[in-house]
Symmetry: C2
Amino acid sequence: MSVALHKDSSADIGEYMAGLGRAARAAAAELAAAEPALKNAALLEIAAALDRNRDRILAANREDLEAASADGLGDAMVERLELNPVRIDAMIEGLQQVVKLADPVGEISELRYRPSGIQVGKMRVPLGVIGIVYESRPNVTVDAAALCLKSGNACILRGGREALNSNQAIYRCIQQGLEQSGLVATAVQVVNTSDREAVAQMLKLDDCIDVIIPRGGKSLIERIARESWIPVIKHLDGVCHVYIDEHADLGKALEIAVNSKTRRYGVCNAMETLLVAEPVAARILPDLVARLTALGVELRGCERTRQFAADRIVPASEQDWYSEYLAPVLSIRIVDGLEQAIEHINRYGSGHTDAIVSEHYGHARAFLRRVDSSSVMVNASTGFADGFEYGLGAEIGISTDKLHARGPVGLEGLTSQKYVVFGDGNIRA
Amino acid sequence: MSVALHKDSSADIGEYMAGLGRAARAAAAELAAAEPALKNAALLEIAAALDRNRDRILAANREDLEAASADGLGDAMVERLELNPVRIDAMIEGLQQVVKLADPVGEISELRYRPSGIQVGKMRVPLGVIGIVYESRPNVTVDAAALCLKSGNACILRGGREALNSNQAIYRCIQQGLEQSGLVATAVQVVNTSDREAVAQMLKLDDCIDVIIPRGGKSLIERIARESWIPVIKHLDGVCHVYIDEHADLGKALEIAVNSKTRRYGVCNAMETLLVAEPVAARILPDLVARLTALGVELRGCERTRQFAADRIVPASEQDWYSEYLAPVLSIRIVDGLEQAIEHINRYGSGHTDAIVSEHYGHARAFLRRVDSSSVMVNASTGFADGFEYGLGAEIGISTDKLHARGPVGLEGLTSQKYVVFGDGNIRA
């Protein structure tokens, strides 16, 4: 049913990966035509298999954790790698939530008659085969498989080397679930080798894989995008800004800035740079510096900013404006006003999420139009940039690309649209 | 205002192309914020400049034609290269038509309140900078520039080597138009070197160019897709099918098949393979063979097909099923029914446009759902697969890709959507 496991002899890796690709392509045709009920049954069977095999999953995870500790992996990486009963619960709940989402496949929109008499619309269809390359979190194996299945796509998953045993244990549960539901078992395949060559070979399978989604550090993603023959949906860094306009309601500004920075530090929608319009700097910065300092945030400011509290703000370097700290660190710059704020964001930002705090209609309108980011907000915390908050139900990542999917990528981002034409024997003149 | 012309010293080409890239990126910010009226004024000024400079354009084109004849270029290529007063009229009319299209930029859709109190929607925005690589037709220079401008994108155009003089003459008109309208003159740039290295360098400018659209032969497009660091919207071949179901209205089937094949031969939406359900083959094939033969179409058939008219149908080879003839040649296969037709199309087709002729509800429904092509039709000629017929107003090509744009690519295909969030001081819990 599934492709034979690979034995890590590097000469065979090309053939092994091509075999996964062919199996996925064949599965994709079945999946694209699968009824919603069948896909949902498979998701629930996978959840049941995870529940039945908790001990095996945790045992496999312990092997990975022991190897990680022997290899001297850092605490943050070990934390991401670790599975426990609560995390297995979360994987199961995640599957149940995906079952509840509306099936995007087959929806027809914009169906209109044309002067020629034909009726033209667009039908939402799966992309086909999705390749996902990710790092240490083993729960991604379940989350990604669930979103791909629900959206009617076959997938090939390549997890982190350090999570190989955990991922294979989870994969066996996925296979059980697929088999018990009667859905094609190669709908999901997890690459069973830690050889890096497997990724290089995967990126060349442009006849079998329709899109690659890398999840991980910026350097991994950039390397994949350049090497790949297959289109890539990129999720690069989140250098997010809040700009406090001179027409801001300063009460809202304070809460939005504090929330955008301190709600969670290690997330891509956290604010990394605060921009403050010069006319209101003296009125808001003292309070803001006090609040953020009390919360343990290190502040790095431009010269003008430091005039308000030189003892609590270290000088920011040019590099700071480009930095995604993912930590309790914030850079602050005083700008002359809207123009300089937009310029700063489009120059130093990463096109992820940026917010203006302002009660000025024209300023809000210009900011919305001219800031070139995947989410642009007025009077709201950058923390809202999230698939759940936007109503997508779940997300596989936040795309900073412009093509195809921009911002949080949910089920719809894993689909495409084809044109459908209805006629009654129409021919073209 | 514009980047200095390049002198073809190959060491400088990287720097020359990078300069075009930086200028385009800077222009893109201005263009994205440009009012519809300003963009339309620029389009009309370009039309006026083309009209004023007809003699210069034709003189430049004569240089290209003479060089082409000296180089022994084929008739078809010379035909595509040639400009004349009618073709200049067509370029001018094309600009006027693009002026009339609705401006896609800034449209906000799906704006909805979320339980948190924020209001989330999507705003249509330009992609940024578009690189277009094309072959001999110089009118593409105007058509592509017009669609990019209207959709708020800067563009870098790289035409065919054989059309260098024609394209530069047209480019000077575009520059005049841009300057007279007051729109940034580097909104459109035409590469002024025939060195192939220019394309290789262009494909690496992933910090300056957001998408590459190649227009030309399959091998050119495949090479660009593999080499490029930048996402590519591909328009590969059109191996289009008509399937005549056993439940077809045979009168409609006859007209649709003849129109799909013979309306025009050299277009990507022409039928290249006809599939006929076995139960109706004897009733429709004799008429169809007679009609098509009378129109001068060479027929290549499977064995079963040849039983109906072995003298008028040569045997089809396996290669025929993959072939885009772009010529008065048609391959015909008799299939058992719907299942085999869908299988054939998904296996041999190119995912461009495929039609079923049937009055059977379930068959039409299954065909629509399971044929994996950019346009899937019921009871209509494949000739309708076209941006104008679909109501897009104009098209820059027909994408056979699944990501981002599928099928005819009009103004909307040259845009993206960003999320916009409206709040009143909302913070995330």
